[in-house]
Symmetry: C2
Subunit: 130 residues, 2 copies
DNA sequence: TATCAGTTTAGAATGATTCTAAAGTGTTGA
DNA sequence: TCAACACTTTAGAATCATTCTAAACTGATA
């Protein structure tokens, strides 16, 4: 808890009650993939009612500080990923199934990068099911 | 134009005025990536005013019939792709930049597929810029 | 402890997409 | 040919994730 406060401070984030609760949940050592909605639900189960606006604000604050990654897998919700290492995913849209691929993946046979652009990130999504 | 009618009929789609215009634009031989909005704009330039509802309906009809692929690259718009071959993309969120990678890409080092699931598709997105 | 910038929040607004239901049209069998 | 009907189009309303607004609140600082 004091760890969490320090953690937030060290990221230039004021350790408010809400951020402490959210960070405590997100960074408990288990990698997680959350949406604003799923996070709200999880916190509510733990009797922590935090407004959706704050949940959005906080997810974005954390994201902007590099504490979370953002995943665009579906058109109608944004996932945030507590695993900030370079990694890839198994994903099932139907089942809302999302699993990290932490193994080192190599993508071979890429054509040359378009003129005047540079590669920021290579993302591999392994879609499961039909 | 009669080709287009036949094309639509052969896909169990009634060749209405609107679908003929849309198919005529989409399947002109050039691969395209469109959103409902961008398609509407392009058609309007060509003096074809078609309601957005119909544009959405038609994109989905074409998609359901395998004439288009759907791409989820950004949380706030869906792209449809006239290139229905297996392929990948260069993508720049900032510049709305989207280019096909038709070369054969190989993804090596995947861990084993989760129990009782099977791989539907492997998608590689090469994000450009920061 | 006063002050103030930073934060939270309810509720309104936004915007892509979907839905509704009424009017229009392509197809077809007689 | 054409009536009949299933399929399609459309305006406008609804949905829903997300963002915005502006007022109340709170952590940091001296
Ligand atoms: Mn949506
Ligand atoms: Mn949106
Ligand atoms: Zn992940
Ligand atoms: Zn493509």
């Amino acid at each position: 808890m004091n760890d969490i406060k320090q953690f937030l401070r060290s990221n230039a984030l004021r350790p408010t009650k809400q951020r402490i609760v959210i960070a405590g949940y997100l960074f408990d050592g288990t990698d997680k993939h959350v949406t604003a909605e799923s996070l709200s639900t999880e916190l509510a189960k733990r009797k922590h009612i935090i407004s959706l606006a704050t949940i959005y604000n906080t997810l974005h604050d954390f994201y902007e500080n590099g504490l979370l990654k953002k995943l665009t897998l579906s058109a109608d919700r944004v996932y945030f990923d507590t695993n900030t290492d370079d990694h890839h995913h198994f994903y099932s849209e139907k089942e809302q199934f999302l699993i990290d691929i932490n193994k080192n993946i190599k993508v071979n046979g890429l054509p040359k990068t378009p003129k005047n652009k540079k590669i920021n990130k290579i993302e591999v999504i392994v879609h499961l099911d039909k």
